[in-house]
Symmetry: C2
Subunit: 218 residues, 2 copies
DNA sequence: CTAGATAATGAACAATTGTTGACTAAGATT
DNA sequence: AATCTTAGTCAACAATTGTTCATTATCTAG
């Protein structure tokens, strides 16, 4: 392991540690340095204020190195986000080995995994969301959630009156909406609480929505 | 009903025609020119490619004029989006005069108005969403939907196990998820269809979500 | 209509951006 | 270990950005 500057934490634990699939060690080193420095700078200034010149100066890299790998600042942030996404996808796929045939369990198991993923990278998500910077972060994440949950739900949703792609968008963004509230609230709830809430929202409908089937409760 | 086919309409009907509350006519003129030119340029290049220099050249304004009103390109786009938001808020508030006490009606009446708003500005929403540019457009719109629907739903949602702010985020982003699918699909559905789908999603739960209470229906 | 206010202009300015080419250093492959 | 490949460096470049200032044009208040 080569020399790290002692200024900040020696290993930046915010970064999801992915996209190390580049063959060349030099590329890995440079990209990692750029991502870590970006995160560090985002803790000090708004994303908008960070200049590429300052970034590479802090990362102790030549400016040309940045442009060799990224088109612009958004490109770097996008790849940093993509690293988190990879972990999300991995986390999401996992629980399916040990689910039984109950659709509800499947859905909430997925939900739990998503919430756990976000919670694991809480510092990262907080930073990115609060930095206004989101280069389509919401959209990218929802795209993933949508694809993943569409894959599950379209087979289960028997009601022929329901438009599947619209419903997938509905569900995916709904979950993301919960996550945003969670983030903005500073993660005061546990991932399990979040999953239980999701379950609650799907299972129980707000007052007045069950007009048609309402009967006397015991 | 916006006209799509023609290349460049003489008066750019995409712009929601708001934020004209600035007292000085010169400011109104400049801002309007900048917004219209921005829209025009976004039909040609990606948002990222548009330079302020080119913008003001096309708008026949001095570059200093731009900086007098906006911090940067995102600022201009943000205000353009804000104009649409104003119309959304207005549209949303409207239907509440003639709703009865049924919460479901209230909710779908709100939904209808939101869908109608988006449909009215279809060209605008398509442009902004497809331009990747969204300076937090999703977030801004959902913020509005959330505030508006939270105002309605928190009083109606009797279930004490439901976290209201989380639920508001859930509902707001869910609607936005539907809208995004709608936009990306090229508005093949009518606003009424969208509202009916929303109703369907809230009223009917997907198969398997009613496990616990499932018993012989009677 | 006049006078004060201020938006718009035009010109400078340092700084940053995005790109290029020649050169050096490091890693991958046999 | 030798060598082919390519990442990283350095310097230069035009272009754009963001800012300032004096001047002119236009608006609003009275």
């Amino acid at each position: 392991m080569p020399h790290f500057s002692k200024k900040l934490s020696p290993s930046n634990s915010i970064l999801p540690e992915v996209s190390q699939h580049a063959g060349d060690r030099r590329i890995r080193r440079s990209k990692k340095a750029l991502k870590e420095t970006l995160i560090a700078l985002m803790r000090e200034h708004d994303f908008k204020e960070i200049s590429i010149t300052e970034l590479v100066r802090r990362a102790d890299l030549n400016r040309g190195t940045f442009y060799k790998h990224y088109r612009d600042m958004e490109g770097l942030l996008a790849e940093t986000v993509e690293d988190a996404i990879s972990d999300l996808i991995f986390s999401y796929r996992e629980p399916y080995q040990h689910t039984d045939s109950l659709d509800l369990r499947k859905l909430t198991a997925s939900g739990v995994k998503i919430f756990e993923h976000v919670h694991r990278h809480a510092a990262f998500y907080t930073l990115v969301v609060e930095s206004q910077a989101l280069p389509g972060l919401s959209d990218r994440i929802c795209e993933v959630i949508k694809d993943l949950s569409l894959h599950d739900l379209e087979l289960e949703t028997l009601n022929p009156r329901i438009n599947h792609s619209l419903y997938a968008g509905y569900q995916a963004y709904a979950i993301w909406g919960m996550i945003l509230e969670w983030i903005k609230g500073g993660f005061v709830h546990s991932p399990e609480y979040m999953a239980n809430q999701l379950l609650e929202y799907i299972r129980n409908r707000p007052a007045g929505t069950d007009i048609i089937h309402r009967s006397s409760p015991r």
